[in-house]
């Protein structure tokens, strides 16, 4: 690698200057001439049929321009179980109707004038109850999604448990919590003739365009979706009705319509993390080898399916693949309830599944008298993957969440993460720390490890165009959702072409100006669109050199681009890229590359190990994280500063999941009790602990420039490390997240009664 390489350098985040000055435009900042404001009416019932909606009070109200009810809505669907509006409502907060008016005040007032009659229906608010035979049905086909659990296995767990000297089983619950992006979701819709333009909070404009076209019953070509600057989403900002409702209101009003969710709406009707109950059963020999793992997860998807099937699948991957084991099984039950809908949120089900798995493994290590680190060093999955026979045909790309054995990883830095993380943390000497006085502050250390799919995603395209000024335009359908993909993929282009990073311009997230791209999800953006961009850059460079060879009458093989200039192998720089752009008759000089990333021979996965030191106050139950080490194998790190920010942010965000955040609903009414930052209790800068980030020295042979997935993995290891540290400190194992002070005190009280 050259000393001045762009890859591996911490170039500044591409759009940060505009964010720092307030110039960046988020959806809520968009103002169009004549724009109206929409307001949604939401259900006060957890389950009800809407019998009538009387709109007469609005008929002669000046400034009210459009009304939308389930009885006059286009009959397309936003998602398979989600019409634009439905005459059945399924949770408190579900969309009922909408109005558009001259300003927000009037829209809210008008919405309150709708006379809505409901017929209450029986409802169910817990997954445990919803799965019972006689439970009220949230959707006609029953509450268990698909009618049966997702069951995946390798080998035979019964045989595996028969080989075990000891069998351990533990049960856990994790709560629903909200991603609570600081930007509440918003959409602006505008019609020009039969063509619709929508600006929205989006992590996939092309997917949004398709969904809107299907919902509205119009051609995809008639829909133009523009992703404004994204006030983050952490995966949570799709699959809602907001933009479709705005589109219909705008069509009826004949004017653009903006809808901004309130903070309360974002908490209740946004998408939250799925709550779970998980039981992990593990068989071990007396010397600490694992013979069988069986995990069962019951997961509440709430009123709508959203990305539930992907989430329940991912909750099982730790149990299936993190430990070297011939006999594993996972059963995932995904259940509808009359709770607010869950959806995608950073790492989907992986944090829930790993929490259960890794706390169980610590318990086993303790029972066997083995250091938890040594237990993992002994049993973690290695580069050769799992024992067993490959099932996937050798001509097919390997799933990034495999079940079968017999397939090696492309790279696996898990052992290095365990070792380097332990060293940085001071794991071996951890009990040398003297507890501070007073004695009610107990210090303990914990750790856990994880595996995560990600990297290869769907088929992705990238276009590269040579601009007249010699800069290169990177054009891709991807959205930078705030994580920095526009920065990192620009680095890939600059490095591949040997041009300055500043000479790469970016066009992302606009369906009319960019080729198809999958949604920014599953930590796949760098890998997938990055691979396409790298290929396009290689092709554009070759094209430029061919043009230069003709013009200079040189052998193309004697030419290269060096520091942005076409240079011959004697080191003489001949032409700038602006010269090339000016000299070609074919304009614009543009290439498109599409790739389906992945491997037919290897599993591409990311890994990591987290270590936490906590102080537990036995008088107040308060837990403070004193020190944190996050060791990650995400392949080669393309931009260290952005990568460190991702890891630190992911860890801090999930300290909320571990210690304080929980969406609470009243079981008897279905009403959300704490739809505010004050009561949902996300971490502030005051709780932010010292976090040391370590990246394993891994260069993946498949990922672009050796990179693998990074966005989600930091969120997976937090709960296990912290909960195991609490046990180390005070001897209580919290199995129900979040580990709030009351739970710690109750557990300590129970402990002292024994």
């Amino acid at each position: 690698m050259k000393p001045n390489a762009v890859i591996g350098g911490s170039v500044a985040r591409r759009d940060l200057p505009e964010k720092l000055t307030g110039e960046a435009k988020y959806v809520s900042d968009i103002r169009l001439p004549g724009m109206l404001h929409g307001k949604i009416v939401r259900s006060p019932h957890p389950h009800a049929r809407i019998t009538t909606i009387d709109t007469s009070a609005l008929k002669n109200l000046p400034g009210v321009h459009a009304i939308l009810t389930p009885f006059d809505v286009p009959d397309g669907k936003v998602a398979p179980d989600l019409p634009i509006l439905d005459s059945t409502v399924r949770y408190v907060g579900d969309e009922v109707a909408a109005v558009a008016a001259d300003d927000e005040d009037l829209a809210e007032y008008a919405a309150g004038l709708l006379e809505i009659s409901y017929e209450s229906l029986p409802f169910v608010t817990t997954a445990r109850q919803a799965i019972e035979q006689d439970a009220p049905r949230v959707h006609p086909d029953g509450n268990l999604v698909g009618g049966k659990p997702l069951s995946l296995s390798r080998g035979n767990v019964d045989e595996g448990f028969a080989q075990a000297d000891r069998i351990f089983s533990m049960s856990f619950t994790t709560p629903s919590h909200s991603a609570a992006a600081l930007e509440p979701r918003a959409a602006v819709a505008m019609w020009e003739g039969d063509c619709l333009t929508v600006w929205k909070s989006s992590r996939g404009v092309h997917a949004d365009r398709l969904n809107l076209a299907l919902a509205l019953g119009i051609e995809r070509d008639a829909v133009h979706v523009i992703g404004a600057t994204m006030g983050a989403g952490y995966g949570s900002k799709d699959e809602t009705r907001l933009s479709a409702i705005a589109a219909v209101l705008a069509q009826r009003a004949g004017k653009p319509v903006k809808i901004e969710a309130t903070r309360e709406e974002e908490f209740v009707a946004g998408r939250k993390r799925h709550s779970t109950e998980t039981t992990v059963k593990v068989g071990v020999t007396s010397d600490g080898a694992i013979t069988a793992i069986h995990a069962v997860t019951l997961m509440d998807t709430g009123a709508y399916l959203s990305s539930g099937p992907g989430v329940v699948r991912r909750a099982g991957q730790g149990a299936l693949y993190l430990y070297h084991c011939a006999n594993v099984r996972y059963d995932g039950y995904l259940v509808y309830t009359n709770q607010p809908s869950a959806g995608s949120y950073r790492a989907l089900g992986a944090p829930q599944g790993h929490f259960a798995l890794e706390v169980t493994m610590n318990h086993i290590a303790d029972e066997l008298g083995i250091d938890p680190l040594d237990f993992r060093l002994r049993n973690h999955v290695g580069i050769d993957g799992q024992p067993g026979e490959r099932v996937t045909p050798t001509t097919e790309i390997i799933d990034t969440q495999p079940v079968e054995g017999g397939i090696p990883f492309s790279s696996n830095g898990l052992r290095e993460c365990l070792e380097s993380g332990a060293k940085a943390f001071g794991w071996k000497d951890r009990h040398g720390i003297q507890p501070r006085s007073p004695s009610h502050r107990k210090i303990g250390s914990g750790m856990g490890m994880f595996i995560y799919r990600g990297g290869p995603g769907g088929r992705s395209s990238a276009n590269l165009r040579l601009n007249y000024d010699g800069s290169v335009q990177l054009i891709a359908g991807l959205m930078d959702v705030g994580e920095g993909s526009a920065t990192v993929i620009s680095q890939i282009v600059a490095e591949t072409m040997d041009i300055s990073y500043d000479d790469v311009r970016v066009t992302f997230g606009d369906t009319r100006r960019t080729p198809e791209a999958p949604i920014t999800a599953g930590s796949t953006a760098t890998f997938s669109t990055g691979s396409a961009a790298r290929q396009a850059a290689t092709e554009l460079k070759a094209k430029i050199l061919r043009i230069a060879a003709t013009r200079l009458d040189e052998d193309v093989n004697a030419l290269d681009i060096v520091d942005g200039r076409v240079t011959s192998d004697d080191g003489v720089a001949h032409l700038s890229l602006a010269d090339i752009a000016a000299s070609v008759t074919e304009h614009p000089l543009e290439v498109e590359a599409s790739v389906t990333p992945g491997s037919k021979d290897h599993i591409v996965n990311s890994f990591g190990a987290h270590f936490a030191q906590v102080e537990v106050n036995t008088e107040t139950g308060n837990v403070r994280v004193l020190k944190y080490v996050a060791a990650h194998d995400s392949g080669r790190i393309l931009n260290p500063q952005l990568a460190v920010n991702q890891v630190e942010g992911g860890v801090s965000q999930m300290l909320g999941f571990t210690l304080s955040e929980e969406m609470l609903t009243d079981r008897h009414s279905g009403i959300t009790l704490n739809a505010s930052f004050l009561e949902h209790k996300s971490p502030t800068i005051q709780e932010y602990p010292p976090i040391q980030t370590i990246f394993a020295d891994v260069v993946d042979p498949i990922g672009p420039f050796g990179a693998k997935a990074l966005g989600e993995p930091p969120s997976i290891g937090v709960a296990p490390a912290v909960i195991n540290a609490i046990y180390d400190a005070v001897g209580v194992r919290i199995t129900d997240l979040p580990a709030t002070p009351d739970k710690i005190l109750n557990a300590l009280g129970a402990q002292s009664e024994v």
Binding site: S10, A12, R13, D15, L16, P17, E18, K19, L20, T21, G22, E23, A24, K25, Y26, S28, D29, R31, D105, L106, Y109, A179, A180, A181, L182, E183, P184, T229, M230, G231, A232, Y234, E260, T262, R263, V481, G482, E483, G484, Q641, L642, V644, N645, Q646, E648, G649, G650, V651, S652, Q653, S676, F677, L678, S682, P683, T684, I685, Q686, Y688, I691
Partner: protein
Amino acid sequence: MTTFTAQIELKVNGRVHNIQVRHHWTLLHVLRETLSLTGAKRGCDRGECGACTVLMDGDPVYACQMLVLQVGDRGVTTIEALGDSDNLHSIQQAFLDNDGGQCGYCTPGFVLSAKALLDAAPNPTEKQIRRALSGNLCRCNAYGRIIESVKQAARN
């Protein structure tokens, strides 16, 4: 719907605006909707997140928690009064150098809270930094980089 309006003078970024407002409008609403100063963000509209932070006679306030009629003759400073993207204020430059933000929605609020701190305490301790910024939420949790940004801004 009955609304009450008033004609007021509002001093923002050194300029006096003569505007008509409704009685219940917040300072945030007027900044964003009347004056098109959209750098102050509406994250919660209930005084919990700090995305709407502006300075009032130099002190940080939540613009969503103040009725515009309460402002009186105090001078309001919004993020638009600091640098622009081609000519960043030194605090903004420190945030850029240290990657003190991800999605950016909280960022103008953090920059203004940091400015208020550094104007009052040019060499703050980390404890002072954390306390001064504890009214601003960042859901990307870029807190580590934000602390480094403010430390560098203090050095500059």
